[in-house]
Symmetry: C2
Subunit: 241 residues, 2 copies
DNA sequence: GCCCGCATTTAACCCAAGTTAGCGCGATGC
DNA sequence: GCATCGCGCTAACTTGGGTTAAATGCGGGC
C-alpha cells in the first residue's frame, strides 16, 4: 500500500484524482517518521518547513492556555494532513501531538510550492483539504457553543464513524476511537467527570458501546438524530474542484 | 480607492503582494452587490459559482440547528473574503448574512480557477486567507470550550480591534462593532441575558465602552490580559508564502 | 410630539455542568 | 508477588450561566 492511498481515498470522495497528480504527490514526499504515544509532533509558534500526512495512528491539535486549561481543536485519522496549513501559516497557533503511536509522511514545503506552480488542480485539492478542516472547525464551534454535552459527544462520534468510513478503516457501525475520557473531555470542552456521566447515559440508552479503543454504534441514524448530526459539513460530494 | 485595497492591506501584513498580482485580482472581479441589513448573502447547501469580498459593512457566517438554536461561526470585516472557501467546497455548511448594510465584490470561481493556473504565488496568498479563517475558528473553539463568558467576550473584542487595525479602519483603542447583544450572544454561544451581565461587569471595571456600534477600549493590554488574548493566531508576520 | 417596535436592563429562580474527593481495577515494572 | 500508576467510575456539593418574565430606554416614522 502506498503512503498516499488513504489521502487519495479521502480526496476521491470529493473529486477525481488523476494518476499523474497522484504521482506528483508521491514525488513530493520524503521520509516517514514514527512517533510514540504522547510525543509532540509540532510545537506552537515554531517555524515549519514541512507538512505531514498521517498514515497510521491518531493525532490531536491542542491549544493550551497559560493556566493549564487545554482544548483539542481537531482529531486526525489516517489520510489527514495534520498540518498542511503550516505550508501557508509557517508558524502554527497550536501544538500537534500523537495520541497513539503514529506514522507521519513528510512533505517539504519546497515540494508543495512546486506543486502550486505545476499542478493547479492538485493544488486546489490540497486547498480543499484545508477548507474541510475549516468546516470541521465550524461544526465544533456549534457543538461547543450550542449543543448539550450529550449531543456534543454523540456528534463527535458520528463524525468519527463517517470519516473512518471514507478512508475505508471503519463503517457506520464501528471505528477505532483510541482516546481516554480525559482526552475526549479536552476535545469537547467538558470535564472528565461529566464526560463519564454522558457516556453512561448514552450507553444505557443503547446508543453506543466504547471499549478497548473501539467505538460500536448499533444504530447510526438514531445516534445522529439525538445528536443533531448532519453530515453536510463533511462535503461528501464528488464534483470538479 | 480600489475595491481590493483593504484585501491587499490584509495580505500585505503577511507577505509582499506584487503589483501584477494585484492587477490579476482586480481583473477577476465582476460586479459590486449591495445588501441590506439582515439580508441573506449565501444560503447553506446551495451551489455557489462566485466568491465574495466584503468592502463595507459587517457580515456573519451563521449555523442553524433545526430547533432554532443558532451559532455565528465567524464575523467578517471589510477586506475579508466572506466565502472564498466556496471556491473549493462549492456548497457551504452555513448561511452568510449581512449584519449591517454591506457591499460585496463578486469573484466568479472561473476567474479564481484561472488565477490558480497562472498565478501560483497569488494562489498561495488566497489559500493563506482561508487558513487564517481556520486559525480564527480554532481560537473560537477554545473560547467556547475553555474560556469563561467574560474572557470569551473580551477575547472577541481584542480580535476585532486588531483585525480592524490591520486594514486601517480602527486601532487598539477603538473600532466599529455594529452588533446587537443578541448577535454577540450568538457569536459566543451565550444567552443575551448573560452577555448583558458580562458587559456590565467589563464596563464597571473600566475595561471597555460600547455605544452606538463603536467599541472603545482604554487599555488594550489590560483587556488582553484578563481575556487571555494572544495575537499569535492572527499570524501577523510578514514572510514569503 | 406621540407611537411603535426593538434593544437593553433587571430580577428571581433553575439546572447542566464543574469541583473535589475517593474507590476499584487492570496493566506495568521490579 | 507486590507496589505503583493511570484510567474509569461514583458521590456530594457548588456554581456559572440559562430561563422566564417584566421593566425601561430609545430611535425612527408620520
Amino acid at each position: 500500500m502506498s503512503e498516499i492511498d488513504l489521502l487519495v481515498r479521502k480526496l476521491a470522495a470529493r473529486d477525481v484524482v488523476p494518476e499523474d497528480e497522484q504521482q506528483a504527490l508521491r514525488a513530493a514526499a520524503t521520509e516517514t517518521v514514527p512517533y510514540a504515544a504522547g510525543e509532540e509532533v509540532v510545537r506552537e509558534g515554531e517555524r515549519q518547513t514541512v507538512s505531514r500526512l498521517l498514515v497510521s495512528g491518531l493525532i490531536a491539535r491542542v491549544k493550551l492556555l497559560d493556566d493549564g486549561r487545554r482544548q483539542i481543536t481537531e482529531l486526525h485519522i489516517p489520510g489527514d494532513f495534520v498540518d498542511l496549513h503550516s505550508f501557508l501559516l509557517k508558524r502554527l497557533d497550536h501544538d500537534v501531538i500523537a495520541v497513539t503511536p503514529a506514522r507521519l509522511v513528510s512533505y517539504p514545503h519546497e515540494g508543495l510550492r512546486k506543486i502550486t506552480e505545476q499542478w493547479p488542480h492538485l493544488t486546489r485539492l490540497l486547498w480543499l483539504s484545508t477548507t474541510l478542516d475549516g468546516a470541521g472547525h465550524r461544526e465544533w464551534i456549534v457543538s461547543a457553543g450550542r449543543r448539550t454535552a450529550a449531543e456534543h459527544v454523540g456528534h463527535l462520534f458520528c463524525e468519527f464513524l463517517l470519516r473512518y468510513e471514507v478512508v475505508g478503516l471503519g463503517d457506520r457501525r464501528r471505528c477505532p476511537l483510541p482516546l481516554t475520557q480525559q482526552q475526549l473531555a479536552d476535545a469537547c470542552g467538558l470535564t472528565p467527570v461529566h464526560v463519564n456521566r454522558v457516556l453512561q447515559e448514552l450507553r444505557h440508552e443503547g446508543l453506543l458501546e466504547w471499549r478497548a479503543g473501539e467505538l460500536t454504534v448499533p444504530d447510526f441514524d438514531r445516534l445522529a438524530q439525538v445528536s443533531r448530526f448532519d453530515p453536510a459539513f463533511l462535503n461528501l460530494i464528488r464534483e470538479p474542484r
